[in-house]
Amino acid sequence: MVEFVFIAPMLTGIIAFFLPPTAGRLLLVLTGAIHLALSLMLWVLRPEALFPAYFAVTPEGLLSLLVISLLFFLISIYTTAYLKTSDIRSEHIFSGSMLLFLSTMTMVTLSDHIMVMWIAIEATTLASAPLIYTHRSAASLEATWKYVLICSVGIALALLGSVFITLSMDVGGLDVPVAFSSLTDVARQLDPLWLKTGFVFILVGYGTKMGLAPMHTWLPDAHSEAPSPASALLSGVLLNCAYLGIFKTNKVMHAAGLGDFSGTILMTFGLVSILAAATFILKQTEYKRLLAYSSIENMGIIAFGTGIGGLGAYGAVLCLIHHSLIKSSLFLCSGNILLGYGDRLIAATGQLARRMPKTFVAFFSGFAGISGFPPFGIFIGELFIIMAAFRTGHYLAVGLFILSLCVIFAGFTRHVMKISFEDVDTTIQIEEKSIMVWPQYALLTTSLVLCFWIPETLYQTIVQAVATVGGGF
């Protein structure tokens, strides 16, 4: 039952490689719907896995899974319209890779065994590489090369880190399954030195995939070269999957009483990422790269919050959910802008408010949301993180944090104002279809609703997920 959730999209993905374009698009939406239904069933029933040594339904996994499922379903609807309008050669490879990508990401959220988690995360890299190379241009080739090589080498370090954690069991003389859940139970008997070493390697490894600076160099290239629906998936949920690996290892560290050690490192990497984003976001010339740097910023915020722990960890999970919802809607809007203006440069765009009013509404509210304005959820998440940082007395860190957020906001605003209102003499090349905007509206509305009202079951699941790191109120 649990395993079926990732086996189903894997099978349809393989089938999609042999289907004509129209059938492939239909299969994409159909699989998205089935996957969403299955994920909701998992959420309600929380069953045992067929292979409990490798897979398990965990609160943090369920949260990520539901976000992936919802996003994929909405993005797949958008994709059908996007594929019709843009000309993509070998569409069957695109559809098939999208589904395999969904399958591998689902596997990440459900895996409990350390090595299976690694296998799944590396598989996401492989499944998403063809997506980035969809346009077959020299630039997309370069982006794919960087993505595959940097991420593979990075993730290889995470494998080494995972081996070190099994080593910490051997040195500690333990004999339990090498799964995150059982490791958390016996964490205090693990050898602390090897556990720490393992954590550092896993953080650097999965951090590369998550886009933490200074290992983020592949991220802006990959996000800007991939077709917009794929960028939305990369930014919205792939980064979360890598974060899940770090989050689970961090839980083991906290259970072992090494939370301060892991927290400090997470905070440092988080701050460096936010600072890097603040430096680079000011001088961006392409709007998709702008969004990519904003993702690096948000991943930094999430790592920072997780590092602080307590209320900060709760805020980090909120940021994680809302970043996925808002950023994916922004990337989908960027797809409309690209189709409309036919250019990736910010300089070539303008007057979005008048030329593409429906896209403008989604784009501008998404911008407000991602910058941390109420009524969108990132506001609450960042507020909790800042409160937690003050409570624990990290004054210098939180000062830098707030300063960078202001700089990023200023840089972002300048570009968004240019795109939305400034004069430009180009004509829009497509007609704004409603199917290409309402998935964005749905994503943003979800974020809006979750800001005011979190269902009890969702709240409980978040609290369970962050309980080990001292999360909650």
Binding site: W118, W145, L149, V163, D221
Partner: protein, 213 residues
């Protein structure tokens, strides 16, 4: 008496030095293939209890690491007739010297880790460290994209040595999954390499620096 494991590991170290000193890609690939075979058969001599599954798995590993992966890369060279130089950023003599220094340093730091197996097989940990760092070195010190992929494979070999010799926890099915991931990764890299060659008529990564910041 010298333990057979140490003889094998000495051969692995030799393959690292060959790969550092060679200017031609075919030699580099052969050195890597040899390294893959030797690294895979180390578990036979470690004195762990071998099950039937273990033997079968070790043989499969040898086939993939020693033949499958190098063949993937070799096909690329043959198909697209790539210029056979590796375009070093750091010269061959300097690389060789760096390799020797690396082995010495690895041998020097290894006893400090206090791992139980290191007392029996003196070269186990130094070899693992050398492979990891040497892989990184090839990634950074060569501009040729194929040499970079070979550096990645060398790193993976190093991780495999650490994984199989120091911890026998993981199930074979899981190890097999890891191996498949690595194989699939190398295949995808090979496809990208072919496309790079078709686009630029070369695999020098200096072409791949147009996207910035």
């Amino acid at each position: 008496m010298i333990h057979p494991v140490d003889i094998l590991l000495a051969l692995v170290l030799l393959s690292v030095l060959i790969s550092f000193g060679s200017s031609r890609l075919p030699t580099l690939i052969k050195a890597l293939a040899f390294q893959g075979v030797v690294v895979s058969i180390v578990p036979f001599f470690l004195g762990h209890d071998l099950t039937v599954g273990g033997v079968v798995f070790t043989l499969i590993t040898m086939l993939i690491r020693g033949i499958g992966i190098p063949l993937c890369i070799y096909q690329v060279i043959k198909k697209v007739a790539i210029k056979r130089e590796v375009e070093p950023i750091i010269g061959y003599n300097a690389s060789l010297l760096a390799g020797l220094l690396l082995i010495v340093a690895a041998a020097f730091v290894s006893p400090k880790f206090n791992l139980p197996q290191t007392s029996v097989h003196a070269l186990l940990l130094p070899t693992a460290i050398t492979l990891l760092v040497a892989g990184m070195f090839l990634l950074m010190a060569r501009r040729n994209a194929i040499a970079m992929v070979l550096g990645y494979i060398m790193m993976e070999n190093g991780i495999y040595v650490v994984g199989t010799s120091f911890s026998m926890r993981t199930h074979h099915i899981v190890e097999f999954g890891i191996l498949l991931d690595v194989l699939a990764g190398v295949m995808i890299m090979a496809i990208i390499l072919q496309n790079i060659k078709q686009t630029y008529d070369d695999v020098d990564t200096a072409h791949l620096r147009t996207l910035k910041e």
